[in-house]
Symmetry: C2
Subunit: 301 residues, 2 copies
C-alpha cells in the first residue's frame, strides 16, 4: 500500500484539472467543490449544474482506507486486514441531445497483503448515435491504449461492451468505449505503466469531450430530439441503479449517497412500450445499441 | 394448487373492474389493454397515459406457472417441483402534485408441495404530505383490515414502514400503508378469509384513489410544486430500481420488462444535494418521511 498516497495525490490534482478544463470549455457553468468525510474515507465531489453546454456534470475524487470486511472478502475473493482505495469518476450530461453523455473512471485498490490493482475506463452514450463520431471516439481511445499496450484496446473494448449492457433491455448503454478491472501490477515497472495508463485516460477524457462540445454544442435541436434524450436518460438511470457495480457497492457499503447518485441526469422519462417511428433517428440509434460493433471500421449502409 | 385458477379468474375480473372505475373517474384517459405471453406465463398490462388526472397509470394482471428453480428455492427457502403465481399490481402517477402516487398489489403463490401463501398491500406516496389526508387513508385501510382480523392493520402497517424504506436516503417512500407477505392459509376456511381480504383490498383501492381525485384534482399548483413532484418521483424510481423485491425478482427471472417498469413515472428529476427552503412545504414533507408515525392519531404541531 506504499504507493497509494502518491496515486491519490495525482488523482486529486487531475480531478481539479479536469474541472478547470470543462469549466473553461463550458464558459458559463462553475463547479462547486464539496469536500466530504464519511467513515471510512473522504473525497471531493465537484458538481457543475446548468452550464451553457453541460446541464449536469460531476467529477468525484475519493480516497478511502479501512478494515477489509468479510463481506468485501467474499465479493472480491481476496484476503486481507486493511484496504485502501482511491479514484476519480466523472459523468457529464449535456443539455443538447446531439451531445453524448460521457463517463470516465480510474481507480486503484490496495490490500495490506500486498495485492493491488487498477481499474477504470471511458464510455460514451450518445442520445443519437452518429457512427463517424463513435468511430472518432474509439480511435482516440485506441491510440491512448496503444501507447501502453496493444492488447488494451481490443480487450478493454470488449469488456466495455459486456459491462455496459442492460440485460433486461437487451441493449448496450451506448457505443461503449473501454472498461478494465483488476489489472495487477506484478513489478514496480508494471505499476508505473498501469498508473501512467490511468493518468493518460484521465487526461484524455476532458480533451475528448471538449472535442464533442466544440463540434456540436451549437447544433439546433427539436422537441422530438429532446424527448428522445429524456427516454435515453431513463435507460441511463436504469443501468446505474439496477446494474452498475460501483453504484451498488457504494450504496451498500454506506458511501456518500449524494456523491454516488450525482451520476443521474437532471431529468429522465419513461414511456410504456415506446415504439420508434420507422426510419426515424430513434430507430437508427436503437439498431446500433449492440455489442461487438467495430466502430473504428464501421461503414454506414 | 387447486385454488389458483379460481383466484386468477377473480383477480383478472378485478383488474378489469379497477380499470373501468379509474377510467370513469379520470374522464379523459383510456386504458390500453396489452396481453402478453412470455415463458413461464401470461398476463394483461393495462396502461393509461395522459389522462385528465392520471398522467401514467397501470394495472397489471399476471398468471404464471413453471418449474420451481434452484434459484427460487434458495430465495424462498421452500422445496417444490412446480409453482404457480397470480396477482394484480397497480400504480398511479397523477399529473397534479397535490395528488399522491398510489400502489396496490395482491398476489397468491402456490407450490405443488401444498404450500401456498398470499401477499400484497396498498401504500401511498404523497408528493406533498397533508397529514389529515394520510390519516384518512390509514383509517380506511384499518377498517378494511379490521373486517378480517384486528391484528392485520397494526402488523401490516409496521411491515409497510419497514418495506417502503429507502435505506440509502434514510427516508420512507411516503406515508406507508399496509404490506404483507407469506400469509399461509392453514385451513380451507383461512384460505377463503385471506382470499377475501385480498379481494377487499383490490376493491378498496380504486375507491380510495377516486376519493383523492374528487378532492384534489382541481387544485391549482405552482411550478415549484411541480419541480418538487419530479424530485419525489426520482426517489420513487430509486426505490423501485434499487430496493423493490418484486421489480428485482421480475427482471432477474426474465419477466416482461415493459410490464415491470411501467411502474416508473413519466418524468423524474434529480438535483445534487438538494436543500429545502426552511419552513417550506418541501421541508415539512421531508420531516414526515419517517417510520412508525401513527397517522390515524397524528396531531399537527
Amino acid at each position: 500500500m506504499e504507493n497509494i498516497q502518491r496515486i491519490a495525490d495525482t488523482f486529486s490534482k487531475l480531478q481539479r484539472k479536469i474541472c478547470n478544463q470543462l469549466e473553461e470549455a463550458d464558459g458559463k457553468g462553475k463547479f462547486s467543490h464539496n469536500k466530504w468525510e464519511k467513515s471510512p474515507g473522504s473525497g471531493m465531489t465537484s458538481v457543475l449544474g446548468k452550464g451553457a453546454v453541460i446541464e449536469k456534470g460531476a467529477v468525484n475524487f475519493s480516497f478511502v482506507k479501512g478494515d477489509f470486511s468479510e463481506r468485501m472478502e467474499r465479493i472480491l475473493g481476496e484476503k486481507g486486514q486493511k484496504y485502501a482505495a482511491t479514484g476519480i469518476s466523472s459523468i457529464l450530461h449535456p443539455e443538447n441531445p446531439w451531445l453524448p453523455i460521457i463517463h470516465m473512471n480510474v481507480r486503484y485498490f490496495a490490500l495490506d497483503s500486498g495485492v493491488s490493482w487498477f481499474g477504470g475506463g471511458i464510455d460514451l452514450t450518445p442520445h443519437i448515435i452518429v457512427p463517424r463520431e463513435a468511430a472518432g471516439f474509439h480511435q482516440s481511445l485506441k491510440e491512448t491504449c496503444n501507447a501502453f499496450n496493444s492488447h488494451y484496446y481490443p480487450d478493454f473494448k470488449k469488456w466495455a461492451d459486456d459491462y455496459f449492457y442492460l440485460t433486461h433491455r437487451e441493449e448496450t448503454r451506448g457505443v461503449g468505449g473501454i472498461f478494465f478491472d483488476r489489472q495487477r501490477p506484478g513489478t514496480a515497472q508494471e505499476m508505473e505503466k498501469l498508473f501512467g495508463f490511468c493518468v493518460a485516460l484521465a487526461k484524455k477524457y476532458p480533451e475528448i469531450y471538449i472535442g464533442f462540445m466544440n463540434k456540436n454544442d451549437q447544433k439546433k435541436y427539436t422537441e422530438r430530439e429532446k424527448q428522445w434524450q429524456n427516454l435515453r436518460r431513463g435507460r441511463y438511470v436504469e443501468f446505474n441503479l439496477i446494474q452498475d457495480r460501483g453504484t451498488k457497492f457504494g450504496l451498500e457499503s454506506g458511501g456518500s449517497t449524494e456523491s454516488i447518485l450525482v451520476s443521474l441526469p437532471a431529468n429522465a422519462s419513461w414511456e410504456y412500450n415506446y415504439q420508434p417511428e420507422p426510419g426515424g433517428f430513434e430507430e437508427k440509434t436503437l439498431a446500433l445499441l449492440k455489442k461487438d460493433i467495430d466502430w473504428i471500421n464501421y461503414e454506414e449502409k
